[in-house]
C-alpha cells in the first residue's frame, strides 16, 4: 500500500521597487511596499484562505487519515503577520489538528547553501525559531529553496539533526529507478531522501488548466486512480500552494479538485496519507541517490540555471554574497535584514534569459518587464547598499 505524501510550498518574496540611478545614494527604500502588500492580499483571498479552509475541512472529515505538510518561508510568514493575520490564524488552526507538518527551509528562501554555509545555517536557525514561535512546531525535515539539492547538502543537513530531506526525483539521480522509495546519498546512510514525483505533481501544477492536455479536464477519481496504480512505498507530490486559486484560477475548478482529492484517494482502498517525518519513520532507504551536481525542481533541465544561468545572475549573486564581511562588520539588525532580503532567490529568477516554455513561466512570476530590467534595478539597489555600508 503506497503512501501519499503531499506538501505545499508557500512563499512570497519582498519584491524590489523600481530603483533608478537617481535614487542611488539618495534614499534606501528598496521594497515595493504597495505591490507586495496588494499581491499578498490578493493571493490570500484567492488561494491561502480558501485552500486552508478546504484542507482543514478534509482533515476534520477524515479524522486523522488526511495528512499534509507545508513549507512556509520566513518572508511569507512575516508578510502574513503584517498584512493578513487571519491567514496566519488559519495556519495555526491547521497546526493544531496534529495532521499537519511544517518543514524546515531557509528563512529568506535564499540560495545561501550555494554561496555561504554560515549564512545558510543562520537562516535555517532563524526559520526554525519563527516556525516554533508562530506555529508551535520544531521542523525535523528539511526542504531547500526550489528543491535545490546536492550530495553535500545531505551530509550537511544530517549533521544538524534532521531526519530527512525532500529532493526532486530527477532522472539523473534515479537512473531509471522508481521515485517511490526512500534513498540516501552515496556512501552515506545517516539521512534519508524523499523524492518528489514531478510527473504527477506537474499534472496538477502545470497541466491541470491546459485545455490542450489529453486529460483535460482532470477529474479527482482519475487522478486518484493514477496514484493507486503506482508501485512502491511512497508517492511524494509537491506543489506551489499558489497552484490552488492563483496559478490556476478558481474557475478552473482547482479548489473543488483539492476538496475532493482526499476522499478519492482514501476510497481507492490501497493508499494512505503520511507527512514527510512519518514517511521517514516508517520506511527505510532502498538505495543511493547520487546528485554530484546541483539539481532543483525547476524548468525542464532540473538544474540551478533558472537562478544562476547567465552573467547577470552570476554578477548579482557574487555581489550580494560578496558583501558578507562588510555586513557583519556593521552588525546592525537593519543592515543584516536588508542583506538577507536581497538574497531571496526570486530576484535572480526574474533575471533569467530563457526561451520556450520556461520563459513564459519566468515572465508569469516576474514583476519586471524583462530580465534586463530586473538586473538593472537590482544592481542599482546593490550599489546604494554598498554606499550605505561604506558610510561610517
Amino acid at each position: 500500500m503506497p503512501s501519499v505524501c503531499l506538501y505545499f510550498q508557500v512563499h512570497q518574496p519582498y519584491r524590489l521597487r523600481p530603483y533608478s540611478v537617481f535614487h542611488i545614494g539618495s534614499h534606501h527604500k528598496y521594497w515595493n511596499k504597495r505591490q507586495n502588500e496588494s499581491l499578498l492580499k490578493r493571493i490570500s483571498d484567492h488561494c491561502y484562505l480558501p485552500a486552508n479552509q478546504t484542507i482543514l475541512s478534509a482533515i476534520e472529515k477524515h479524522k486523522g487519515k488526511f495528512r499534509v505538510a507545508y513549507s512556509l518561508s520566513g518572508s511569507v510568514l512575516e508578510q502574513l503577520e503584517n498584512f493578513r493575520p487571519d491567514v496566519l490564524d488559519s495556519f495555526r488552526r491547521l497546526a493544531q489538528t496534529g495532521c499537519v507538518e511544517f518543514l524546515a527551509e531557509t528563512y529568506y528562501h535564499s540560495l545561501s547553501f550555494l554561496f555561504d554555509r554560515e549564512e545558510f545555517f543562520r537562516q535555517l536557525t532563524l526559520h526554525k525559531s519563527k516556525i516554533q514561535e508562530l506555529l508551535g512546531q520544531s521542523p525535523s525535515v528539511f526542504r531547500n529553496t526550489e528543491l535545490i539539492y546536492q550530495n553535500h547538502l545531505g551530509f550537511y543537513i544530517s549533521q544538524l539533526g534532521y531526519s530527512g530531506i525532500i529532493a526532486e526525483g530527477t532522472q539523473a539521480g534515479l537512473h531509471g529507478r522508481s521515485p517511490h522509495y526512500l534513498y540516501h546519498p552515496p556512501h552515506y546512510n545517516k539521512i534519508k531522501l524523499l523524492l518528489r514525483n514531478y510527473a504527477l505533481s506537474d499534472d496538477l501544477g502545470f497541466r491541470f488548466g491546459d485545455r490542450n492536455w489529453a486529460h483535460y479536464p482532470l477529474h479527482t477519481d482519475v487522478f486518484a486512480g493514477w496514484l493507486a496504480s503506482q508501485q512502491g512505498e511512497v508517492i511524494c507530490l509537491g506543489l506551489d500552494y499558489e497552484t490552488f486559486g492563483e496559478h490556476h484560477k478558481a474557475d478552473t475548478g482547482i479548489l473543488g479538485f483539492l476538496e475532493a482529492l482526499p476522499e478519492a484517494v482514501l476510497q481507492t482502498g490501497n493508499l494512505d496519507f503520511l507527512t514527510p517525518s512519518e514517511v521517514f519513520a516508517r520506511y527505510e532507504a532502498k538505495g543511493s541517490f547520487d546528485a554530484s551536481r546541483f539539481q532543483s525542481w525547476a524548468g525542464t533541465d532540473k538544474d540551478i540555471s533558472p537562478w544562476k544561468g547567465n552573467e547577470m545572475q552570476e554578477e548579482a549573486l557574487e555581489k550580494v554574497y560578496g558583501l558578507r564581511q562588510q555586513v557583519l562588520e556593521k552588525n546592525t539588525p537593519e543592515i543584516l535584514r536588508e542583506w538577507s532580503l536581497l538574497q531571496t532567490s526570486d530576484h535572480f529568477y526574474y533575471m533569467a534569459t530563457r526561451e520556450g516554455a520556461d520563459a513564459n513561466v519566468h515572465a508569469h512570476f516576474s514583476p519586471w518587464k524583462s530580465p534586463f530590467d530586473a538586473y538593472i534595478h537590482y544592481m542599482n539597489v546593490i550599489t546604494d547598499f554598498q554606499i550605505k555600508l561604506n558610510k561610517v
Binding site: V21, F22, I24, G25, S26, E315, K319, F372, Y375, T383
Partner: protein
C-alpha cells in the same frame, strides 16, 4: 517680397523622438522672420507653438474637400522598388519599456512582408493617428504624401522645403504638380542610421530624391560629405545649413552619490556607438575607480550591453536608466561631469550642445556634425576607445582642464543660432532663385 515656402515636416515638438523635430521647429521658427511659411506635418498638436507660420496637421484635413486626383508619382516610385522590409531602426523608436521585448537580440531583423498594392496608397479619409514610426511607416508615408500633395494645390508657394526622407516622396509629388523647386533638408540619413553597408529601400529613396531635388541642405559639413561621397550627389547642389541652438535653462546638481559621473545619452543602436562607450568605461575604471557611468536611452542593443556589463562584473559601476524624459535627461546632465558621444555617424549631435549648456565637458567623435561647432571639445574617432578613455581620465583627474573645456565649449556655442541658420537657408533659396532666372 518675402519668399513663400511650403515646408513638409514629420516630427514637430512635442511629437518627437530625436533631433529632427527639435531642429525642424527651430529652423522653421527662425525662417518665419524672413519668409512666409506653411508647414504640413502628419499630426498637429495644440501644444506646438506656431507663432509666425501656418501649421497644418494631416490629421485635421478633410479629404473629401480636397481637389485633385490621387497622385501618381509616388505610386510609381513605390511600385518600382521592391519593398521587402521596414527599417528596424525606425520601428523600434520610443517604446515605454527599457527593453523592446518584441525584438529579442538573438533573432534576425524582423522582416515585414509589404507587397506593393494599390490599396497602400488608397484614399484615406484622414491621416491615421498613432505612432509616427512603426511597422506601417510606409503606409503612413504614402497617406501623408497623398494628403500633402492634394493640399498643396490650395497653397501659394515659391519653394518646397522637405525635412528628411519621410517627407521626400511628398516633396517629389508636389514638385511634379506645381513645378516649383524642391529643397531637401537632410537632418539624418540611412547611411548614418544603418551604416554604409546596408543600402535598402530608404537609402534608394533618399538617393533618388536628392538626385531629383533642386537643392540639398545638409546640417553639417560632415553630412554634406556623406551626401557627396556615399550618395554621389553633385556637390554644387549641396548647401550646408548648420543647426542652431536650443537654449536650455542651465543648472548644476550635486549627485547623491560620492563618485563622479560620466554619461552616454542616445538611442541604444549601433549608430550611436553605445558599445564603444562601454569599452571606454571599462578602460577608465581600470585606472580610476571613483566614478560611475550612466547609459541613458533604450533600443535594440540594450540586452547585449547589459550582458557585457554583467560579464565584466560592473553592474554596480555602470548604470542603465532606460528612456528619460527631457526633464530627467537634463537632471542627469546637471549631475554629470563628462558626456561621451561616440557616435559612429552623427549628422549633428544635439545632445552634445545640450550637455555643454548644462555645464558638462563633452568628449565627441570626429564622425559628428557637432564636432564642427564644438571646436574646443576633446575628440576621438568613434572606435578609438583608448583615446576617448584618455580624454575622460584627463577631465576627471584635472579640475582645471575640466573647467577650461566647459568654458571654451560654451563659448563655441556662441557661434551658432537658429537665426544664423535661417539666414544661411535663405541664402540657399536666393541662389536657387537666381539660377532659375
Amino acid at each position: 517680397m518675402k519668399y513663400k515656402i511650403l515646408t513638409l515636416g514629420w516630427e514637430f515638438p512635442p511629437q518627437i523622438n530625436g533631433g529632427l523635430g527639435v531642429a525642424s521647429l527651430g529652423l522653421t521658427r527662425a525662417l518665419s522672420e524672413y519668409a512666409e511659411i506653411s508647414v504640413i506635418i502628419p499630426r498637429s498638436d495644440p501644444r506646438t507653438l506656431a507663432e509666425n507660420f501656418q501649421l497644418i496637421g494631416a490629421n485635421e484635413v478633410d479629404i473629401e474637400k480636397l481637389a485633385g486626383e490621387t497622385p501618381k508619382i509616388h505610386r510609381s516610385i513605390l511600385s518600382k522598388v521592391h519593398i521587402d522590409y521596414v527599417d528596424v531602426s525606425l520601428s523600434g523608436y520610443e517604446q515605454p519599456t527599457l527593453y523592446y521585448t518584441r525584438k529579442p537580440a538573438s533573432r534576425p531583423v524582423m522582416v515585414v512582408e509589404r507587397p506593393v498594392k494599390d490599396n497602400i496608397i488608397g484614399m484615406p479619409r484622414k491621416f491615421r493617428l498613432g505612432a509616427l514610426y512603426g511597422s506601417d511607416l510606409l503606409t503612413r508615408i504614402s497617406e501623408f504624401t497623398d494628403i500633402a500633395s492634394r493640399l498643396s494645390r490650395k497653397l501659394q508657394f515659391d519653394f518646397i522645403h522637405a525635412h528628411d526622407w519621410m517627407t521626400f516622396l511628398a516633396g517629389l509629388e508636389i514638385k511634379a504638380i506645381s513645378g516649383k523647386p524642391l529643397v531637401l533638408h537632410v537632418h539624418s540619413l540611412e547611411y548614418d542610421r544603418s551604416g554604409p553597408e546596408k543600402k535598402g529601400y530608404v537609402f534608394e529613396l533618399e538617393k533618388h530624391a536628392m538626385q531629383e531635388a533642386d537643392l540639398v541642405m545638409a546640417v553639417s559639413d560632415y553630412t554634406a560629405d556623406v551626401i557627396e561621397n556615399h550618395y554621389e550627389i553633385d556637390p554644387d547642389k549641396i548647401w550646408v545649413v548648420p543647426n542652431g541652438l536650443e537654449k536650455l535653462k542651465s543648472y548644476r546638481k550635486t549627485p547623491p552619490f560620492p563618485e563622479k559621473l560620466v554619461v552616454f545619452a542616445g538611442r541604444l543602436v549601433a549608430q550611436k556607438g553605445p558599445g564603444y562607450f562601454l569599452e571606454m568605461a571599462m578602460k577608465v575604471l581600470e585606472k580610476y575607480t571613483n566614478v560611475r557611468f550612466a547609459i541613458a536611452g533604450q533600443g535594440e542593443k540594450l540586452p547585449e550591453l547589459v550582458q557585457t556589463v554583467a560579464e565584466a562584473r560592473l553592474g554596480d559601476k555602470i548604470h542603465f536608466t532606460g528612456f528619460l524624459s527631457g526633464k530627467d535627461l537634463r537632471k542627469l546632465l546637471a549631475m554629470a561631469d563628462v558626456l561621451v558621444m561616440p557616435s559612429v555617424s552623427e549628422p549633428f549631435g544635439l545632445i552634445a550642445t545640450e550637455a555643454v549648456q548644462m555645464g558638462v565637458a563633452c568628449v565627441i567623435s570626429h564622425q559628428s556634425g557637432v564636432s564642427e561647432v564644438l571646436k574646443h571639445a576633446p575628440k576621438a574617432n568613434y572606435h578609438d576607445t583608448d583615446q576617448m578613455a584618455a580624454w575622460v581620465l584627463s577631465l576627471l583627474n584635472d579640475p582645471s582642464l575640466w573647467r577650461k573645456t566647459v568654458a571654451a565649449t560654451q563659448k563655441d556655442l556662441e557661434s551658432i543660432s537658429w537665426d544664423i541658420s535661417a539666414r544661411k537657408a535663405i541664402a540657399g533659396f536666393e541662389r536657387l532663385s537666381a539660377q532659375k532666372k
